[in-house]
């Protein structure tokens, strides 16, 4: 941290405000980031972090406020202005051309001439220098589609450095990385800091903030609520600043008392829409009264596993529920049949699967259970009044806000949308509950509540299969952990006998013995 009183801040935001219609995404935000530091911005989904960074990168124009870069008032109208001001951005979803090489991707948009060959030669030399200087190893001739996500992220960082960025913004950079890859990224970030770069790290993970940042700003509801030195704070305080009240970061639960097997999976194989085999023969058992957590980096077959169990996709192999085999394709294997068999499903993507966003809350409460006789008035008509009454009950019990059955799902916050899904599924008291990413994009307060509900179902003697890419969530919620990599189960561990490091190695495909 070489910021001194005489050097102006690398970035200074003064009174930034931005509204999207009625939504005040940013309200009078001021921020000062010293050069050569790693500055974390933490906040819940929808707190306005991404909007703020989009203003800094020129995607949005602020309604009010000023941006100062290195002591100079700077107008940023588009990303070209941002790049010219020395700002580089690494997005959560990479912007790379899959069938281009690393080198081609790096010069894309900065070719520097009409002819490709001399530009590529020049870029190759620059790239070698950059790689050496910052310890960023990449093969310039590898195709993007053939390298891993960690490597792809490095390409994104190199793209910014190639454009002479002195300020790097990383938006949720570890979402797709294994813990080991994340550690590697943090090493790169520290190296960049040593070389004098300024880094802004946007994340909702407290651990990352504590690990790598020098200072941290907390955003809540579009406002900057605090900026503190990382060394002088702790996760509990940050969580409280994010949510605005004290929160329980650990899941409070009694030891599990597993009973008879509820779900038995043998030799399950699943193909995705393109016909690629994503689940390559797995065996799993989930018992009554336990939560089995499936850990793994996104895209290693967990989604397909959930989809087969939930009746959204055909598969091959054997699945038994309470000892009875379930069909894996055809009419008897659809979502209706699964629900009838006693499987409830909180899907990974609540907006595309679990809810119809245009439907009212009460219509969504019947979603998937619209054949329930309690919801029918007679052979022809549905009993909408009964559904609404049921919705009122669930709104009350699960504290869904606003408490309005007529509101469209779209108009609830992420946490309350998820509560609608969780209420609908858990209140069916299923034998087996499938849960995918239960707290993705959900605010901390609602996370606490949803976790409690899942544990309560377990304590009632039901089986729960939990899929999450958040290792912390798996470690604190699951009673037993199976790690999935490339469509296979790499090993099973008990949460009290393992740690993030060991699970991380399994998630990266190293076998249990090597760990």
């Amino acid at each position: 941290m070489n910021a001194s009183a005489t050097t102006p801040p690398a970035i200074e935001l003064k009174g930034i405000s931005k509204a999207f219609g009625p939504v005040q995404a940013n309200r009078d935000i001021s921020l000062s980031v010293a050069p050569g530091t790693i500055h974390g911005i933490i906040g819940e989904n929808g707190a306005g972090k991404s909007t703020l960074m989009s203003i800094l990168y020129g995607f949005y124009r602020a309604d009010a406020g000023e941006i100062w870069i290195n002591g100079q008032r700077t107008e940023i109208h588009d990303s070209q202005d941002a790049i010219a001001a020395g700002i580089g951005m690494v997005f959560q979803h990479f912007k790379l051309v899959e069938n281009f090489t690393v080198l081609e991707n790096i010069i894309l948009g900065a070719e520097g001439g009409g002819l490709l060959r001399p530009s590529l030669a020049r870029a190759r030399r620059t790239l070698e220098e950059l790689s050496r200087e910052y310890g960023l190893d990449v093969d310039p001739d590898a195709l993007i589609e053939e390298i891993g996500v960690g490597m792809q992220q490095r390409v994104e960082i190199l793209k910014s450095l190639y454009r002479h960025a002195d300020i790097l913004i990383l938006d949720e950079p570890t979402g797709v990385l294994t813990p080991a890859e994340a550690d590697q990224l943090f090493r790169i970030l520290r190296r960049l800091r040593e070389e004098g770069k300024t880094i802004i790290l946007i994340t909702h993970k407290l651990r990352e903030i504590m690990d790598v940042t020098d200072t941290v700003s907390v955003m809540r509801r579009g406002q900057m609520t605090a900026t503190v030195r990382t060394a002088e704070t702790n996760p509990e305080q940050l969580a409280e600043l994010m949510v605005g009240r004290k929160v329980l970061l650990r899941v409070d639960k009694a030891p599990a008392r597993p009973g008879r097997p509820v779900l038995e999976i043998e030799g399950l194989r699943v193909r995705d829409d393109k016909g690629v085999e994503r689940v390559k023969g797995i065996d799993l058992t989930v018992r009554a009264g336990e939560i089995l957590g499936i850990a793994g980096v996104a895209g290693n077959g967990q989604s397909e596993l959930l989809e087969v169990l939930g009746g959204m996709r055909p598969g091959a192999g054997t699945i038994r529920l309470n000892g009875a085999a379930l069909p894996l394709h055809g009419r008897g294997a659809d979502g209706q049949a699964r629900r009838a068999a006693g499987i409830a499903h909180v899907p990974e993507d609540r907006q595309r699967e679990g809810l119809i966003m245009e439907f009212h809350a009460w219509e969504n409460v019947a979603f998937g259970y619209h054949h329930d006789p309690a919801y029918q008035r007679n052979a022809l008509l549905m009993d909408n009044a009964a559904i609404r009454a049921d919705t009122e009950r669930k709104i009350e019990k699960f504290d869904i806000r606003p408490a309005d059955p007529w509101l469209s799902a779209r108009n609830f916050s992420g946490g309350n949308q998820q509560k609608i899904v969780v209420a609908r599924e858990i209140e069916r008291n299923p034998d087996l509950l499938l849960v995918g990413q239960p707290t993705r994009g959900v605010d901390i307060g609602a996370i606490e509540f949803i976790h409690k509900q899942i544990v309560a179902l377990r304590d009632a003697g039901r089986a729960v299969l939990l899929v999450s890419v958040e290792l912390e969530e798996i470690l604190s919620l699951a009673d037993r952990i199976a790690v999935m990599f490339d469509g296979r189960i790499m090993g099973e561990r008990l949460p009290q006998e393992t740690d993030e490091k060991e699970l991380g190695l399994l998630m990266a495909g190293m076998s249990g013995e090597a760990a």
Binding site: F59, G335, Q336, G354
Partner: protein, 382 residues
């Protein structure tokens, strides 16, 4: 928070669109040196000024209700059925067969049978594109358009080679027997002591069309099938999650849609022409698309939009008759209304949404700070 109140979406946008279309039409009429006020007067007098005019307006509106509902039902399943024209033609074939080949004792039984035949034929014609979409992924817009041409060719063949009475030079069937004559509004209203033009073609089918509006409303918003159709229309992955079969919904929605389009034939073939002629549909299948768009795929909206287009059709015909405005220009005027109310929806919608947002903001700034909804603005970058 929705961007603007529902009433603005449902009422204001169609009205503004209509107003814009009217203004532009007036300019066009001025441009050829005619008087737009006089033209409007002719249209109103011709379409609504007499029971004769009303009889035609309602006759056209009946056609458009059927085809508009057909498009609307499919649209709820996010299927764009452009094939209403062909399905209505096939419906005509069904009506003609039912009326010509079976001796019916009374018009009411004949109407029932002809209606069923019309629906079956229309549904069958929609079933093939539906199957191709559901199983093979062939785009329903393309296939239904192609099926319109096939329907026209088929009808041509049937009328020229099969159903034409011997010795006739006219590619049409013979006249339906008198027993299947449907009561016109004149005959229906006379017992009530209400005088109605004798020569206007509006008939009992209008009541069937209104009943169809009510039934479609109940189907879409009150039945499980309607729930599934809407869910599938909003999100196919959501439907898969809920165990709603995309194949089943695609087939059923298109069958209902085709049946509704086919049912139009009880009005134009059985009620008006009383025989099957070439081009009996007169483009009503396509007007149905505009009617459904303007009616926001809601049966009540379809009802109102069908009345409007009925007015435009009848008023336009009168205009061609009583003014120097050439027939082609009247088609231009009708097309302008379709263009504005159907296709250029966003042109009116977006400024209006911005206006409502601005109004909403001002109101909020004066009041307390509203809690921030979670919904994130869409990142232009992702």
């Amino acid at each position: 928070m929705d961007k603007m109140p529902k009433w603005a979406d449902v009422v204001l946008i169609p009205l503004i669109s209509l107003l814009l279309a009217t203004i532009l039409s007036a300019l066009v009429i001025l441009g050829i040196g005619e008087d737009p006020i006089a033209a409007v007067k002719i249209m109103f007098d011709g379409a609504l000024g007499s029971t004769y005019g009303w009889g035609y307006t309602l006759y056209y509106a009946t056609n458009f209700m059927f085809t508009g509902l057909a498009v609307a039902v499919a649209f709820h399943a996010r299927l764009f059925n452009i094939g209403g024209e062909g399905q209505a033609m096939l419906g005509g074939l069904g009506v003609a067969m039912a009326c010509l080949y079976v001796p019916w004792p009374h018009w009411s039984i004949a109407l029932l049978a002809a209606g069923v035949a019309a629906m079956l034929f229309g549904a069958a014609w929609a079933a093939i594109p539906a199957y191709l979409q559901a199983r093979r992924g062939s785009h329903i817009v393309i296939t239904t358009i192609m099926f319109n041409f096939i329907a026209a060719a088929l009808l041509n063949y049937m009328l020229v080679n099969v159903m034409r009475p011997e010795g006739s030079m006219d590619p049409a069937t013979e006249r339906f027997p008198a027993a299947v004559h449907l009561p016109t509004l004149h005959e229906l209203l006379a017992p009530l002591g209400i005088g109605f033009s004798k020569s206007a073609p509006a008939n009992v089918s209008l009541l069937v069309a209104i009943a169809a509006c009510v039934l479609v409303w109940a189907l879409i918003w009150r039945t499980r099938l309607g729930y599934e159709i809407r869910a599938y229309g909003h999100s196919e992955t959501g439907a898969r999650y809920a165990g709603i079969s995309p194949f089943r919904i695609t087939m059923i929605a298109m069958l209902i849609s085709g049946a509704l389009a086919g049912l139009m034939a009880i009005n134009n073939v059985m009620g008006e022409a009383e025989r099957l002629v070439l081009n009996s549909t007169e483009g009503a299948g396509f007007i149905g698309i505009a009617v459904a768009l303007m009616g926001r795929s809601h049966p009540f909206g379809v009802f109102l939009a069908a009345l409007l287009f009925g007015f435009l059709f009848q008023g336009g015909a009168e205009l061609a008759l009583w003014s120097n405005i050439p027939r082609e220009l009247i088609v231009v005027i009708q097309a302008l209304v379709i263009l504005f109310t159907g296709a250029l929806d966003n042109m009116v919608r977006m400024p209006l949404e911005r206006l409502f947002l601005a109004l909403g903001n001002r109101r909020r700034d004066m009041g307390e700070g509203a809690p921030l909804p979670e919904r994130k603005p869409t990142q232009p970058t992702e």
